[in-house]
Amino acid sequence: MNKPLITRLQMLVAFELDSLEKRLDQARSFHYPSAVAVKFIDSLIEELKQQRLQIKQAISDFLPEYPQRVTNELRSQHRLLINKLTCLDSLKNAQTQNVPWSLVPSIERIASELSQGSQLLTTCTYALNYSIRWYPTPKSPIHQFSILQLPIIHKHNAFLHLLIGHELFHPLLQQFFVTQTPSVVARLKAAISHLNQPPAKNRLDKLVEFVRYAWQRAIEELMCDMGCAILFGPAAVFASIAFQMGSNLDEAPSSDGSFYPPPRYRIREVMHRVFGESVIGEAEQFHAGLEGTATTPIQKLAALLKEDERTSWAADILSEHRETILREIRKNDDLVPINQNPLLKTAYEEVQAVLPDAWNYIRQIATSAGMVWLSTIDEVPFLLRSLELLVPPGEIRDTKAPGQTKSPSLPSIAIATWLYQLKCEASVDASLEQAMKSYSRCCRLMLKGFEDVELRREYDAGKDAFQQMEQLP
């Protein structure tokens, strides 16, 4: 490329750098529900400065003798820049008015309890998906940030936002894959080599990577599903089903769809691994001598709710939904397309082989963060009684001393509100319009509950410091 064209390219990149920096600077003045967005902007601006420096250096190093080298560096910087433009969208949709702001403090707290020092930017997207972007091996300050995206169309849909729990586990799986990959790829390669009719083998490395990636994506999704279920208990399953109902439960994993495992497969694994539910039918259980042998955690919750006649309705609702889910996961239509495709079959055999280890790994993370739904289920009956009064489930009040209150756990709030909502849905005389009103009302009550928990946490922490300050002379 000759000098005038290089100058033009240089101008283009300089213009884009200026423009992006100006926009980032403007974005700093918007209102965000937490300080993370501004830190993110600062890191981005710092990166742009680095880019400027690198361009300057390349020009002084290589012009006029090596114009191609300058061109290559300018194009690469240009590409890095364009790839950053999505951050502007993320920032715009991270503004307070665009996100479910009352949830943001809770999201950030769960994220930091799961992984200390996490920097999570919560934003919304027009895509109908919950997702998170993170850097598995951070190489620069900007890589410290993870970007959590929620579907904007469900901004107020607190029931679905429990799926955020799933997303927060994604960045925590790195070590698991480092440990598992050597043995898994070896088995995958052997299995692919022994296929009767192997697909084109001219690039075995690509074929193995294809199957490895399908395996990794399946395991990732299943581990995050399990993590979310440890966190939010049956509410995670209700949210997952509600979100996935719009798609085919038996949709085969594909490269077009980022190798998501079929929804039915995911729910089955969660019910089996996390809740110890039998995924085989009653007849098979009978023959295997398993029928009625153990009380599962969901049954334990149902029994607790049954103890008080004011909440026994919730026990019935829970049992009824458990049965419905079990009926669905005992069908195995999702396995048909997987078994028909030799590569997917190979990947999923390996998924089954490592799932016990995956479950232990994810359980360890959640347990060490102290985030297990079962540990606070005794709060659920009280919160259900609040909800029946149309009161947000954000406080457990001492019935003898007004003002003596404590905060419930986030999982208890989620479970109670879901159960209450399922009751409202089941009401036979409700019109769709009434049902929608009730759904919105329950969303508001749940969001207010979450918000009140974080407010009290902050108030109690600040109050102690304030009282100490007041005692000073």
Binding site: A58, N129, S131, I132, R133, A186
Partner: protein
């Protein structure tokens, strides 16, 4: 674009940039100027090491050092093929073996530079050529995705 793909795209853009900048540093060394970006050489050595681990696995089945994806190997093979260093067609274990040796040679050149030794000019030129091609290949592939594309409404309908 599904989020997992966006993550791979980020990796692609990043890797292309490292290759381009590493080639620049090698060029500086060739013309007798001091290397000013050691970090980029360290990162390119990491890439070569990951690709090499993939190559060892594909040639002799030893996966002990393979802790992540085979993408570095996939990209290295693609680049070598485009360079004409490997023949198109079925890729055999011996091909992976020769590629692994090639990658190892380059890694040791980069590590020599990092340790302050002076590798011979032919080795540096070989590395530079490879990184130039790698940067070009990966960059071209990334460019197709980082820019928004104009599409008629009908193609959105089928999305």
């Amino acid at each position: 674009m599904p989020i997992a793909d966006r993550q791979i795209l980020g990796e692609l853009v990043d890797c292309a940039d490292i290759a381009v900048r590493a080639a620049g540093q090698l060029q500086l060394f060739m013309i007798g100027k001091p290397i000013r970006d050691r970090q980029v050489l360290e990162r390119v050595a990491e890439f070569l090491s990951a690709a090499e681990a993939g190559g060892i696995f594909m040639s002799c089945g030893d996966s002990a050092n393979l802790h992540a994806s085979l993408r570095p190997l996939n990209w290295a093979v693609d680049t070598r093929m485009n360079e004409g260093g490997l023949e198109q067609g079925e890729f055999k274990e011996t091909d992976y073996q020769s590629l692994t040796e090639y990658l190892r040679r380059m890694r040791s050149t980069v590590e020599d530079l990092l340790e302050g030794n002076r590798p011979n000019n032919a080795a540096i030129e070989e590395c530079m050529r490879f990184f130039d091609s790698l940067g070009d290949d990966l960059g071209t592939r990334a460019d197709q995705h980082v820019r928004g594309t104009s599409l008629p409404c009908s193609s959105l309908a089928s999305f």
